[in-house]
């Protein structure tokens, strides 16, 4: 492999403000208590959706905190250097600076090696050196065969300590980043665009709101001096967790830590994240040429790993729609039975597919998380029906307990499937590092333990407390934006016809879906042309 900056449209995060309706003054929610085993809380009554979600800071590991998962039965060493910095640290008007800085460090060469020489050094080793910037975290990851370990450690540490920061490379990577927005995000991936648009809508006015890769004007305004200064501000010891796995010994740990101790001890103060105001009923429709309509909906909520309800909600939303798996309700109801699209899923937290798998990436934690539902593109004529379908089955999740049979099936499924999430050294490291920030040691095992104590009733009670269909915000990508806006404003039924015979039960259920009142505010529907999305 070679150096690669992994910032793509699948890194679904966003910006582009949409007009909002003023909300009443919020009542702050209490901070989540420390992690504990999930048990059925004693509050069966549903609570109202919060009008805003405060920022309860994540845990802060000590500078250069080490996570080591050594094992003798592999010749490969895996590195995961996770900095608690991301696009939230982009200065206003310089959106994309953190990602561009990280990419330039990883790809642009070191003081000893030009970018071409860096590639030549890594190439025969097939060593991997990648960077993945996100909202709050930026991960430099590496893998190398132990045959080349000393050389690789030198290169990896030089990337962090002595990056070349070459002006020509900055121009090359900036051009690519602008193209990623103009030609990629806006044009070539409607699914990703829908997810980014949802993030922009839900986090409007918040440092999460802009696309991690930046805005066109933000990227164009960045200078080499900005990059040099930013590297010193955010890639610092006090923000870094060092993960090592595989063929690791004490000597490697010592030498790596000794080198990384040359990073600046501290830098910029941590960004104070504001509360996220409710986006209930808001809609953004991104208008672009498209054969089908992409749909994402969700809400920011004060729930994240470590909250006593987290495991129950994760369980409930896996039941509703585990990512790219057959078992979810949405997949079965909307795709398998009705043929609406290619897939339909639900998420309890920020989700970015780890390449080559169907699992969530590690180290993309957020202080203020969201739950979301995703319908892969549907025929435009079925867009409102599909949206209603998503909301209908979410409503069901909140208002009806799972049958014992279904609950047992999902529990067995997740007892096995969650083990697949930790099958590589890199992912095991990722979970361990995330656990430092969330305060959730042994997270997946804790999840499996928690499931042994859940019941259908406890899951439903958690869903009633924490999932609020009425609080959803909606994002669409479609060609006939005005037509869709009109259909949403009107609230008219959205009948559907099928090419094949359907069961009476399904057709009866359809009647409820067709009529379902979507929690959409007619005056909060905004159309955004794709070509202006993430411009500044």
């Amino acid at each position: 492999m070679n150096t690669r900056a992994t910032l793509s449209l699948t890194a679904l995060l966003a910006l582009a403000g949409c007009a909002s309706t003023p909300k009443p003054a919020p009542e702050p929610s209490p901070p989540p208590p420390p992690a504990q085993e999930a048990t059925a809380p004693a509050t069966p009554a549903p609570t109202a959706a919060p009008t805003e979600v405060p920022a309860v800071p994540l845990h802060q590991p000590k500078p250069l905190e080490r996570v080591v998962l050594a094992r003798p039965d592999t010749p490969i060493v895996t590195f995961r250097l996770v900095f608690h910095t991301g696009s939230i640290d982009d200065p206003k008007g310089k959106e994309g600076l953190t990602a561009l800085t990280a990419t330039l460090m990883a790809e642009g060469g070191t003081q000893k090696l030009t970018s071409a020489q860096l590639l030549e050094a890594l190439y025969p080793m097939a060593a991997e050196l990648e960077v993945f910037p996100d909202k709050e975290f930026t991960t430099f990851s590496g893998r190398v065969h132990k045959d080349f370990l000393p050389r690789f450690v030198d290169i990896l540490t030089d990337v962090l300590l002595a990056p070349r920061l070459d002006p020509a490379e900055l121009e090359r990577l900036r051009t690519n980043a602008v193209s990623d927005v103009e030609n990629g995000l806006r044009s070539a991936n409607d699914e990703a665009l829908g997810k980014v648009a949802l993030d922009a809508l839900l986090y409007e006015g918040h440092p999460y709101a802009h696309y991690v890769g930046g805005t066109v004007q933000g990227l164009k305004s960045i200078t080499l001096d900005d990059v040099k200064a930013h590297a010193q501000r955010v890639f610092t010891q006090d923000r870094l967790v060092v993960g090592l796995a595989g063929a690791v010994d004490d000597a490697l740990q010592q030498s790596l830590l000794a080198k990384l101790a040359s990073l600046p001890a501290t830098g910029a103060p941590r960004v104070t994240l504001p509360p996220v105001k409710s986006s209930a009923g808001k809609v953004v429709i991104v208008q672009k040429e498209a054969l089908s309509t992409a749909i994402s909906l969700g809400t920011v909520y004060p729930l994240r790993r470590g909250d006593p309800d987290y495991f129950s909600i994760a369980f409930a939303l896996s039941h509703l729609g585990e990512h790219r798996q057959f078992i979810g309700v949405l997949f079965n109801e909307l795709r398998e039975k009705r043929g609406l699209n290619y897939g339909d899923y639900a998420y309890a937290e920020n989700f970015i597919e780890d390449p080559g798998s169907t699992y969530n990436r590690n180290n993309i934690a957020r202080t203020q998380q969201l739950m979301s539902l995703w319908a892969r593109p549907v025929e435009p004529a079925n867009a409102v029906f599909a949206t209603r379908g998503l909301v209908f089955f979410l409503d069901q999740l909140v208002n009806q307990p799972l049958s014992q049979e279904r609950f047992d099936l999902m529990r067995g499924y997740l007892q096995g499937y969650t083990r697949l999430w930790e099958q590589t050294d890199s992912r095991r490291l990722g979970y361990a590092i995330d656990s430092l920030f969330y305060g959730t040691p042994d997270f997946l095992e804790q999840y499996r333990q928690a499931m042994t104590k859940m019941t259908p009733a406890s899951v439903q009670e958690a869903a009633r407390r924490r999932l609020h269909p009425e609080a959803l915000g909606f994002a669409f990508v479609t060609q006939d934006a005005e037509g869709l806006a009109q259909a949403l404003r009107s609230g008219q039924p959205s009948p559907i016809s099928y090419a094949s015979k359907k069961s009476p039960e399904l057709l009866e259920q359809d009647q409820a879906i067709i009529q379902l009142k979507l929690p959409v505010h007619p005056d909060a529907i905004h159309v955004v042309p794709a070509q202006s999305f993430m411009e500044k």
């Binding site: 071409a116 090359r172 030609n183 040429e289 009705r338 997740l414």
Partner: protein, 453 residues
């Protein structure tokens, strides 16, 4: 879901006798135990210290290459979807329950040459998995309404992929470079054929009988399990499967006799693209042609190639260069691809890439770079095997293409044996002007303004 990206297979000429064992090597540190059942099913087990996790990979040597009837393109891929629909013993929906009980990741993908199914999860579920897999491969059954509904999911998949230019580029290139061979259409198939799929229920049954046969299938089981018990279960469950693969005549592609070009206007903002494609030989266990092409990609446009250094890093005329060439069962295409930063660089970039090909064909080979590419390939292969799933899919892919259960090891051996002179000879023979098809793609926005926007 259930389908990865459509990618890319031959006829099963088993190279190994029953109960063969392929030993571990530095390039592939696992042992293959291979048996062939009397019905022709090849069963490969790979012990892997996976702490109770197994991968179960079934490769059927059928892909869009086999779609010889007009109007039935895309059917191998569509049929992959139908394989999840159930049987009399396990009606639709029951598979999800069984997979759910254990937590298997259960999916499949189709390519031009193979259809590969995998289940990945706890070894505790292996007995049930063997039973349900053997049942569906022998006794698949689905209703016409279910078939019609799934056709819409396939259409949705096409629409999803059509948002980016790649699908259109592949369609245009294949339809230009191939005049007779079924590689003229992509794995997804022609759009018109996809829209007509709901009407093809009867044909789908024919397709199943024709290709889903034990002599056209290889099974790979990777992980922690008792080999004797597993083989007994496999024999008991798959033994009654008793069909023979059909013979269809895939039209041979006649030699190309002159450069061809094809242009795509893309109606949305995107970067201009350039593809150079030459007809090259099929992958085969008996020749190094596949390994040669793999190394050729890195040699010509890899991250340490002169073209990369010049076009990407120094002159910054292109955002990326590379290749989307992959092993194929029949002669396919070797491609060089470039994502341009500006339309006006098109000729410069094309000539620069062709010059690299010419230098190689003229015998000017940098042996050190060939060696580096071989080292990269060897270590890269090792590093790509992180889980039982990785091992199973890599083995299945190569076995399916090459028609031999140890296809991956054969490929790795060929990679290590390629000489600089062979690369040069290959380029001289195949990467010629008469054998070239060039594709250009330009966004509809004024191309002569220079740049995409």
């Amino acid at each position: 879901m259930r389908r990865l990206l459509p990618l890319l297979l031959l006829m099963l000429g088993l190279a190994l006798p029953a109960a063969a064992q392929s030993p571990a090597s530095t390039a592939f540190p696992y042992t293959l135990k291979t048996d062939t059942l009397p019905n022709g099913l090849t069963v490969v087990r790979v012990p892997y210290p996976s702490r109770g996790i197994i991968a179960y990979v079934t490769v059927v040597r059928v892909g869009s290459r086999n779609e010889v009837e007009p109007g039935k393109t895309g059917f191998a891929h569509f049929f992959e979807h139908m394989m999840f629909k159930g049987t009399q013993r396990h009606p639709e929906g029951e598979r999800e329950k069984l997979m759910g009980t254990f937590g298997f990741d259960d999916n499949a993908f189709t390519t031009d040459d193979i259809t590969l199914y995998y289940s990945y999860g706890p070894s505790a579920g292996l007995p049930q998995l063997i039973e349900i897999e053997a049942d569906r491969f022998q006794n698949l059954e689905y209703s016409e309404p279910s078939f019609r509904t799934e056709a819409l999911a396939v259409l949705g998949e096409y629409h999803k992929n059509a948002a980016a230019p790649y699908l259109k580029m592949e369609e245009a290139l294949n339809a230009t470079a191939f005049t007779r061979h079924t590689y003229r259409h992509t794995t997804l198939g022609f759009y018109e054929d996809i829209k007509a799929m709901p009407e093809a229920y009867d044909y789908s049954r024919t397709f199943f009988q024709r290709w889903y046969t034990p002599d056209n299938t290889l099974l790979f089981i990777v992980g922690d399990f008792d080999d004797a018990k597993v083989m007994q279960l496999v024999r008991d469950n798959y033994g009654p499967w008793n069909r023979k693969a059909a013979q269809v005549s895939v039209p041979a592609e006649p030699p190309q006799r002159g450069t061809r070009t094809v242009h795509v206007d893309w109606p949305q903002p995107t970067q201009p693209r350039l593809v150079l494609a030459w007809h090259t030989p099929a992958a085969s266990p008996r020749t190094p042609d596949s390994a040669l092409q793999a190394l050729l990609i890195d040699y010509l446009v890899g991250p340490t190639s002169p073209a990369y250094k010049s076009l990407v890093l120094d002159k910054q005329l292109v955002e990326a260069i590379g290749s989307d060439a992959a092993e194929h069962r029949d002669p396919h295409l070797f491609t060089l691809t470039a994502t341009l930063k500006e339309e006006r660089s098109r000729d410069t970039v094309r000539l620069a890439l062709l010059q690299e090909v010419s230098r190689l064909a003229a015998g000017k080979v940098d042996a050190a770079r060939v060696k580096a590419a071989q080292d990269h390939a060897r270590y890269g292969a090792l590093m790509a095997l992180q889980t039982p799933r990785d091992v199973g899919i890599q083995l299945g892919w190569n076995a399916g293409i090459l028609g031999t259960p140890d296809g991956l090891q054969t490929h790795l051996r060929h990679l290590a044996q390629v000489t600089p002179a062979q690369l040069s000879t290959f380029a001289k023979r195949y990467l010629t002007a008469n054998n070239l098809t060039m594709l250009s793609l330009t966004p509809k926005v004024a191309a002569d303004a220079g740049g995409t926007k």
